[in-house]
């Protein structure tokens, strides 16, 4: 190999390595900037968030993930509901009728502000269904603005999408759209933390 060719190969490899490192550093700076934007004095990531949507891309704490994420399903849909809320009932019935929820490819976890019975009754038909009663603390931690509210977690517990459903919201369409986005992102790292494997 000639000197010029050797020098070229060397330069390309060095540039590639340094570019990888620089990209990682820029991502860290970007995440830190986002935190600063949420409040300079914010002691923890997400502490400045006003809505769950601002938390998309972050991983829920381990203790919450253990309670909320269904490890057997690739995605878990959190439905934040309150007993006696008619729009919550409508949302849960619509979700239970969705093929992805019915066949268990998306697990459904209800986080109820009160008891679980009404929500479980409405969501009957979902293959992977669980419910967390008295979930106000969880709602507060995840900055849930109102009920009903939906948040999609991936298997690692990373918040992938959030939605405040309205009466005319096509929940099936939303789930399909989010699913497609997640499949496209599957080739990329599963969280903001970039890892080769």
């Amino acid at each position: 190999m000639s000197f010029t060719a050797s020098a070229l190969v060397l330069a390309f490899v060095a540039i590639a390595l340094l570019a990888l490192g620089l990209a990682g550093l820029l991502r860290q700076v970007s995440l830190l900037t986002q935190q600063l934007d949420g409040g300079v004095a914010a002691p923890h990531p997400g502490a400045g968030a006003r809505t769950t949507r601002e938390l998309v891309g972050f991983r829920v704490p381990g203790d919450l993930a253990a309670e909320l994420v269904d490890p057997a399903a690739p995605h878990t849909l959190l439905a934040f509901v309150s007993p006696g809320c008619s729009s919550c009932s409508l949302t849960l019935r619509a979700l239970a009728a969705d093929p992805q929820v019915a066949d268990g490819s998306v697990a459904l976890t209800l986080v109820s502000a009160g008891s679980c019975e009404p929500g479980l009754r409405d969501a009957e038909g979902s293959l992977r269904l669980r419910c967390l009663p008295q979930g106000r603390t969880v709602m507060d931690r995840l900055a849930v603005p109102a009920t009903p509210y939906l948040a999609l977690l991936d298997a690692s517990g990373t918040l992938r999408a959030a939605l405040l459903p309205e009466e005319d919201t096509d929940l099936g369409g939303w789930l399909r759209q989010v699913g497609t986005t997640l499949q496209q992102a599957a080739a990329r790292p599963s969280t903001r933390e970039d890892r080769p494997s």
């Binding site: 490192g21 990531p45 970039d194």
Partner: protein, 190 residues
Amino acid sequence: MSVLAVASAWAVGLVLLVSGLSHVRAPRSTQAALSAHDLLPSSTHRWLALVLGPVELVLAVALLAGGLGVLGGPVARVLGLGAALLCLGFAAYLRVVLRRTAGQEVPCGCGLGATPVTGWSVVRAGLLGALALAAVTLPTGPWTALPGAPVWAQAVVAAAGGLALAVGTAALPAARAVPAGLTTLTGAAR
């Protein structure tokens, strides 16, 4: 003398020099990391932590001297092969540690900054192994002037390239791995 071989040897040599010095200075940190990895028998942790640093330093000096042409060809090759085996061994070891401690954050103990074991630690060790292999397999010999490339120019290119490779490789895990604190909603409030 191939510029690639020299740059590779110097890159691996520099990284091993830094990690070797770190391991020699703080064997207790290495021992703590080995304990956290929980892979090797605990009886071996202490002496491994004591031996690792000097071994890395010897290999580092050999690679740096081999690149300069101070060390003889066969000796440099054998030590370069040793460095390659050490780095590839690290890569395999870290890969196993990564699998066993999935989801946990354990210190790498690599002597290159306080970074946890991640996929990038494995990549770094693998890259260093590949560079050491390149240094061993590519043609070496005395520096000779080439048309349009005097010896000093070749040496400068090799030194700059080696330094860039060393910095790029050593810093890779710290630069790529985002601390869990930045991606986890610990204590997220309203």
